[in-house]
Subunit: 341 residues, 2 copies
DNA sequence: TTGAAAGCGCTAACAC
DNA sequence: GTGTTAGCGCTTTCAA
């Protein structure tokens, strides 16, 4: 015995291949491929033999090998930058469900911790994905260039920058901000304020702009603007600052629901204000907990499913031709944090 | 120029390949591979030439092609079944961060809508992933068999079944249930109740069992048990039923925080009870919103990072030899929903 | 140290 | 209809 018996060289992890199926069914491997890819002519009984053999062996096509040759991986990359905000799990839920319904899979990239979205893009591109969805963040023009160069369609959800190289889907934050102001004014609030989120985000800027456009015409006093982060803690902190300098404030528009929850909790439990009797509050997003009795928050609902639908449609259409910003209107949800006259 | 002049058959989507880099650097394609995979000997200046050429072309290794040959895809599948529950986004956040830190990527499967986790397993296995993490659900023994057969390590987070074919990581729900009971009893509650979650889940069963073990020894009266789903709405509905039949209840342990929020909201805003003066409430998980003033919920914290750490360690160790259940103790977080004597 | 060549599991031309 | 053949982009022997 010179060399030990050549052990079955097959890698531990691989299951049966098309060759195995072919052997068992007494056909060529190509015939098996035709059946599996449902592509090309196969006689009925041959097809049956192959399917039976595949079944018997527990054969599963290797999607990665298939992708290698077709140049299409049927994988969509989803890049998320803010898991902590309760809005984004709802986005991810809807997005993954919709993508899976198409028979595609999701490669998820979490940009939450050290890595920025931009740092992640090179990694994403190593996977020859069929598309990239970026939520909660913008791409630097550099990163956007890279995607464009590799021909992968990219869609930004809910943020945009001025580079104009990618399609963007967003709730109409500008109109939403106006609605918030109108709601507060209609309720009889005289002294309004904005407690916003991340200052350099389009989301925040548009909501503030819409709000101020309307508020400025009917408010006599100065309208304070405090902005930092889309977080509960920031809302809590900001409202303290706000009420310390402007105790007359009786209507607050918050950058999103998370901020609004922080604002509400401090108003009620620390600052001793009644909501909505003393101060009215409007949020943005309509996350699930906004409907809970403890908050019962009046807010602008983001049209989640429309946003997702549009995002996917844009990715499929590969219309790199004319990248544009697609705004979808939100919906005012009246609950209990704005007083009725 | 015999074989050099191949037609540029290259698919639109592919970027530069190792062949392109090799040509530019005047070396063989194999040399490029050695540099990229950091595997094998390459002379210093050759390596430099190659790296330079790769840079110049913007070369990115194709992870899928690499996986095809190594039989290792450096992708971990994460199967989630309940995005709506606020605990799971925190799990996903920690899990994805940890996996990315290893230089691996996450293929996310959302079993939330039509598809059950079991239905998803065949799809998962088509991707020759390096491991599978399943949260919020158990695998049928059939599905577990399939994974075992294909040699992919599987770890279940926070649920288990009796099949014993996979490793499982879970918070010690039994001890947690006991802690909850002890906490309520120490606070002087006399009439306890359990409002649980999904009845057929190990999570729920263990929490209930621990709770009843302790509660039964010091409670004279019958301890009502209501179980259905780990949802806010169920908590809200259940507490109505409960208080209608047993208005004397003064201590409630909830299956998780989401249920507790529903319970709290109804107690306070509909049933007119004061918490904790009239009724004390304990939750489970310690999701972020449990700390918010509106709830300020006393709860058992799941050791999120330990759970994730252990899960990853188990997947790497491939210890299919002795699949076991690994319990990690939770931590009682005292806040404001249990009265102090 | 390097290049030539084989081949991972699969699809797609192209013969027969 | 079916088999044969040539690769997809890469890693990995094996010689040189």
């Amino acid at each position: 015995m010179n060399q030990d018996e050549r052990a079955p060289k097959r890698k531990q992890l691989s299951g049966p291949t098309q060759r195995d199926v072919a052997k068992l069914a007494n056909v060529s491997q190509a015939a098996v491929s035709r059946v599996m890819a449902n592509n090309g002519y196969v006689a009925y009984d041959v097809r049956r033999r192959i399917e039976q053999a595949a079944d018997q062996l527990g054969y599963r096509p290797d999607q990665l090998a298939r992708g290698l040759i077709t140049g299409q991986s049927n994988i969509i990359a989803v890049v998320m930058a803010d898991f902590a905000n309760p809005f984004y799990p709802t986005v991810l839920d809807a997005l993954t469900a919709a993508i899976q319904d198409q028979g595609r899979q999701i490669l998820l990239f979490n940009a939450g911790h050290d890595q920025t979205v931009d740092d992640l893009i090179p990694s994403v591109l190593q996977y020859k994905v069929a598309g990239i969805v970026v939520t909660t963040a913008v791409l630097s023009s550099n990163a956007a260039e890279m995607c464009l160069a590799s021909g992968v369609p990219v869609v930004l959800m809910n943020r945009y920058s001025s580079t104009g190289t990618t399609n963007i889907v967003s709730c109409d934050n500008h109109v939403g901000g106006k609605q918030a102001a109108e709601t507060l004014i209609a309720a009889g609030c005289k002294n309004l304020a904005y407690i916003g989120g991340r200052q350099d985000s389009s989301t925040n800027a548009d909501r503030r702009r819409g709000f101020l456009e309307v508020a400025n015409v009917s408010c006599l006093n100065d309208i304070p603007v405090l902005e930092r982060a889309f977080h509960y803690n920031w809302g809590a902190q900001a409202v303290h600052q706000l009420m310390a300098s402007r105790p007359d404030i009786d209507g607050i528009f918050c950058g999103d629901d998370a901020v609004a929850f922080g604002v509400l909790d401090q108003l009620r439990f620390t600052l001793g204000k009644r909501v909505p009797e003393d101060v009215s509050v409007v949020g943005f997003d309509d996350v699930p907990s906004a409907a809970w009795s403890a908050y019962n928050l009046t807010t602008i609902r983001q049209p989640l499913h429309l946003l997702v639908q549009k995002t996917i449609a844009l990715m499929d259409s590969e219309s790199k031709a004319d990248p544009a910003v697609h705004f979808i209107p939100g919906e005012l949800i009246l609950r209990g944090t704005v007083r009725s006259r």
